[in-house]
Structure formats: C-alpha cells, structure tokens
C-alpha cells in the first residue's frame, strides 16, 4: 500500500479543514511546515463536507478546497459530500 498526501496553506479556513481531516482520518499524519501543512495517510484519505461544515459553522462547498490547496498525491475521487485520495496499489 502506498501513501497519499495533501497539503494546504496554513491559513484560517485551512485550520478547520485540517481539523476535520484529523477527525475523519485518525491514522493521518499532520506535519506543520513554514506556511503550509502536509497530511500523509496510508492508502486513502477522505475529506468530508459535513465535518468541515460542523467545524466552520457554515455551508461549505468541497470545491472551496481549491483556494487553499498546495499539492496532493493519489487518485482523486470527488462528489458533493466526500473528496477522497486513493491509492490501490
């Protein structure tokens, strides 16, 4: 199994996105670097709209992730509720 990762700019919105990722992916490893945060996970990482909305206290469109994204690795699977990165091999 290979790692997937995603990195966000260290800003206000991303803080809650990262918190949501930590809640939904307990095995994810969060690495804070200057002005960015990189999150690694074995095999799969899910970002759930509902969890982010709960933490932000407002509606959230998963495509808003594009504003804060820095990079990612893995195959992207996206619908309205979940944005996933997956590596099958």
């Amino acid at each position: 199994m290979s790692k997937v990762f995603i990195a966000f700019q260290a800003n206000e919105d991303a803080r809650q996105i990262i918190e949501a990722i930590e809640q939904d992916n307990p095995e994810a490893i969060v690495d804070h670097q200057p002005s960015m945060v990189k999150i690694d996970c074995e095999g799969r990482l899910d970002i759930r709209r509902e969890t982010i909305e709960e933490l932000m206290g407002r509606d959230f469109d998963l495509q808003e992730l594009h504003l804060h994204l820095i990079t990612l690795a893995g195959n992207v699977k996206e619908d309205e509720d979940v944005f996933s990165l997956v590596r099958e091999a």
């Binding site: 997937v4 670097q33 960015m36 804060h68 820095i70 990079t71 690795a73 996206e78 091999a89």
Partner: protein
C-alpha cells in the same frame, strides 16, 4: 400568490456533464480529422473520448469563481507587501538571487506553458480534456503575470530583475528551461501533456513550489509565498489532469503503452536536468533552509514517484529509464552547478557567494556521502585562494553545452563522481556533446529536432568572439551591478543601509 420554487440544485457530476460534455457537437460539413489534424500524428489511438473524466469535475462557472477569489487574496497581499517595505523584510538580500533565478528561468516557462496548453486545448478531439486544458492555459498565464507582478516590487529596489525577458532567450542558463518548453511545444498534443502535465507539473512543481515556497516563507518573503502558493493551488488540478491523461491513453489502446513509456523516459530525464537549477537555489541561495534538495527529492520525487509507478504498473508501465541514476545524481548536482555558477559569476544575472563554514556544516549533515568527500575541499580551496590572492576565482573558459538540455556538461559519470561526463556523437557531419546518457538517448531518438537548436555559448563565440561586454549588453546584464559576488555588491550595501534606517530613530 405564486410560490417561489427554488430551482433544483444540480449534482456535481450532472453539472459537469452539462457544462463540459454538452458543449461539444458532431461536425456536419467538416470531418473530425480536418478539425483536429494533429490528433493521430503521434500514433496515439483514442477510441472513445467520452471515457475521459475530469476527476475534479471543474466547470467554467466554478473555475471563474474560485480563480477570482485567489486573485483577490493575492493582490491584497501584494499591496500590503509594497506598502509595508516588504523588500526589507527578507532575512538577507542574498535570498534575492533565488528570486532572480526564478524570474529568469521559471516565469517565462509559465508563459510558454500557457501557449502550449492553449494549443493543446485546440488539438484534443475530446471536449472534457479540451476544457481542462483551456483552464490550464488561463492558469499558466495568470502564474506568469502574478510572478512578474509580485517580483516587480523587488525590481524597484534591487538589481538583476530587469532583464528576464531577454535572458530567457539569450542567457546561457535561461535557455535550459526555454529548450525544455520549446521541445514540448513543438511535439504533438499528447507528448505535450506528458512533458508538462507529468514531468513539469507532477515531478517538478511539487519540488519547486512546495519546499521552495515554504523556504520563501522561512525567509520572510511575503510576495513569493503568495504567488507561489496561489500558483500551486492550481497545480493540484494540473497534476491530476496530467495523470488522468496518462491513464486515459493507456486504457484506450494497448498500442499506446510503448509510446507513453518512451515519453515518460524522455521527459523524466529532461525534468531531472532542469530541476538541478532548483536544487541549487534550495541548497545554496536560501539564507534559511527548510530542507535540502536531496530530502525534497526523496519525499516528492522518490516516494511519490514510486507510489505513482506502482499505480501505473497495472497498465504495463515501468519506472522511467534513469530513475536510479537520478537518485544518485541528487547527491551531487546542486554542488556541481553551484561550483560552476560561482566560477562563471561574471556571466550570471544574480549574485553568488561561497558557502560559509556554518553553511558547509549544514551541507555535510545533509549530504553525508558526498559533500565532505568531493565538494567541501573544492570550496575550501577556492576560498583559500581568493583570500591569498585577493582576486576572484573565475573560470574564463566557456562551458561546453549538452545539445539536449543545454546545461554545461559539468556533471559527473554515475558512480564516478570524479570523472566528468564526456559524451559526443557525430550527426550529419557535426559533433554534438551531451551531459549524460539520458540526454544522448533523447538526441539519438530525434536528432533533427535537437541538432537545429540555438546554443547560447556557440552563439556567443560566433557573434561576439572576445567581446564579452558586447555580449553582456546583448543579454541585458549590467556588469558590476547584476553579476559577480554578493559581497561588495550594490544589493548588499543597499539592503544593509536601508535595514539600518528601519531601526534608526529618525
């Protein structure tokens, strides 16, 4: 009374299909072949364009909405940078050399990517891929513009930022990225997507924008962090597009597999050679460093690349040729390039300096197998000689260039770090030189393409002979201001004087 019924919200997939796929139509009075003349000239077979899906399902309306938001954030920060003496908030003016090299080598490449994607979008027969390429074309011109705009604040105060448009075409290190992009843009639309979508975006931009921009933040450079991450927020989409296109080609027809493999081999190697410049920026030009080039290569190149190729193995794709050589060369390349640039510093439009004792200790720690053994003794020799003679240690000879990547042939043979690469072949009555086996292979595969390249050093000798000042004027390099050592430069003096003013009481 009429009740307002809220319009039913479209699902993401449905909206994506309506706003991309349904933009296409079947031509009635011209054939598809006439409309897309380059669709099959590379031998790639596509049977069903409808099988291609943008994994991000980005539609044009969302695209404008989010890009506009990125621009608003970007310009708010650029204004703040200009209004609050951002040019003085960097750790040290040495850091500017990395920015100058970035502006001279990378920003023009962004513009070239814009032109390439605009053309590729026109060539693809499938509307999904055409729309994604069109968005990327717009992204790329935004990157070129925001980078030039962000760095223009530094141009008001420091030397070496003014000549990048000329230097892209004429400067000996500027033609390295230029030849990479010219090579890609003069290929067909499918090779182009592998060159830029895979090699440049997937392998290179992660290394360029992620650790390097984090390094910019560490060095207090608000402007660069902002344009870097603003650009990188588009790159996730670009990388995904590049990978989806590779998978799509592989799934469409087994005949595509060897063609794609040959392109992966070629463009991985071209990307690696180009990346050496970024490694040099990271290891030698950042006063404060987040990670070494080799560490960045391990995370974003090796680990990420290994995972990707495990993924692609099911299609019959193997790791690119030269993969192991690349890992080995990551331990040497930044040092070799910096030693070269230091000795040819009369011809660089940025300043250089020898690593301090503290820098060298850091390099030893980061490169335990190579730095102390091969490179520390050379730096110590250069520093000692300069201290003794009071003269700059310069190499007044001109470098022999690799006909493929256009870098000087300053690299060593794999596994033999004390043996300079000497490779040449005859083609059509002329001798051509190469920096590596990889570059020689690429030439031999398409010799006519590379034999005709304009080579900056040959051009210098032919057009200027001994007239180095004439050459400097032609490449837009102001001697005594833009080039030579950082120590004693106008940039160093100004930065010190202006910094002192910020803490003075009046």
């Amino acid at each position: 009374m009429d009740m307002k019924v809220p319009a039913e919200k479209l699902g993401l997939t449905e909206k994506y299909h309506l706003l991309t796929r349904d933009l296409a139509w079947d031509p009635s009075y011209r054939t598809n072949k006439e409309i897309h003349p380059y669709g099959d000239f590379e031998g790639i077979k596509i049977h069903d364009w409808d099988k291609w899906d943008d994994p991000f399902r980005m539609t044009v309306d969302s695209y404008w909405k989010y890009q506009a938001e990125k621009e608003r954030k970007y310009y708010a920060i650029i204004d703040a940078h200009a209004q609050n003496n951002g040019h003085l908030n960097i750790t040290d003016a040495r850091y500017l050399s990395a920015l100058k090299l970035f502006l001279q080598a990378i920003s023009p490449a962004e513009y070239a990517a814009h032109r390439g994607f605009a053309r590729a979008a026109r060539e693809y027969e499938g509307v999904g891929m055409a729309v994604a390429a069109e968005m990327q074309a717009i992204d790329e011109i935004r990157h070129a513009q925001t980078q030039i705009h962000g760095l223009s604040n530094y141009n008001k105060f420091y030397n070496g930022f003014h000549g990048f448009t000329t230097q892209r075409d004429r400067m000996w290190y500027g033609t390295v990225p230029r030849s990479f992009f010219d090579d890609a843009m003069s290929a067909g639309p499918f090779e182009f997507i592998i060159a830029i979508g895979f090699s440049f975006e997937y392998v290179l931009t992660n290394l360029l924008f992620v650790p390097f921009m984090s390094g910019a933040a560490y060095n207090g450079d608000l402007a660069t962090v902002t344009f870097g991450f603003s650009a990188q927020s588009d790159e996730a989409r670009h990388m995904t597009l590049g990978l989806e296109c590779i998978k799509f080609m592989l799934e469409q027809d087994p005949d595509n597999i060897p063609i794609v493999q040959a392109w992966l081999d070629k463009w991985f190697w071209r990307g690696m050679r180009l990346l050496g410049l970024v490694g040099t920026m990271m290891d030698y030009m950042l006063p404060k460093r987040v990670m070494s080039w080799q560490e960045a290569w391990k995370i974003y190149g090796e680990e990420n690349g290994e995972a990707l190729f495990r993924d692609l193995a099911r299609y019959g794709i193997r790791k690119p040729k030269g993969w192991e050589t690349a890992a080995e060369s990551a331990k040497h390349v930044p040092h070799q390039i910096m030693l070269g640039m230091y000795q040819w510093r009369f011809g660089t439009a940025f300043h250089v300096w020898p690593p301090s004792d503290e820098d060298m200790d850091w390099l030893s720690e980061k490169y335990p197998d190579t730095f102390d053994k091969y490179y520390r003794p050379r730096w110590e020799y250069i520093k000692q000689r300069e201290a003794e003679t009071g003269e700059p240690h310069l190499n007044m000879g001109l470098p022999k260039l690799c006909q493929t990547c256009q870098l000087p042939t300053w690299s060593t043979e794999p596994g033999e770090p004390e043996k300079l690469v000497q490779r040449e072949i005859e083609f059509d009555g002329e001798t051509y030189h190469f920096c590596s086996e990889g570059c020689q292979d690429i030439f031999e595969h398409e010799p006519e393409k590379y034999a005709g390249a304009w080579m900056p050093i040959q051009g210098l000798i032919r057009d200027f002979g001994e007239d180095v000042p004439g050459w400097m004027e032609w490449v837009n390099l102001i001697p005594g201001k833009d080039n030579m050592s950082y120590h004693g430069s106008e940039d160093e003096q100004n930065f010190k004087a202006w910094k002192a003013q910020t803490t003075a009481s009046s």
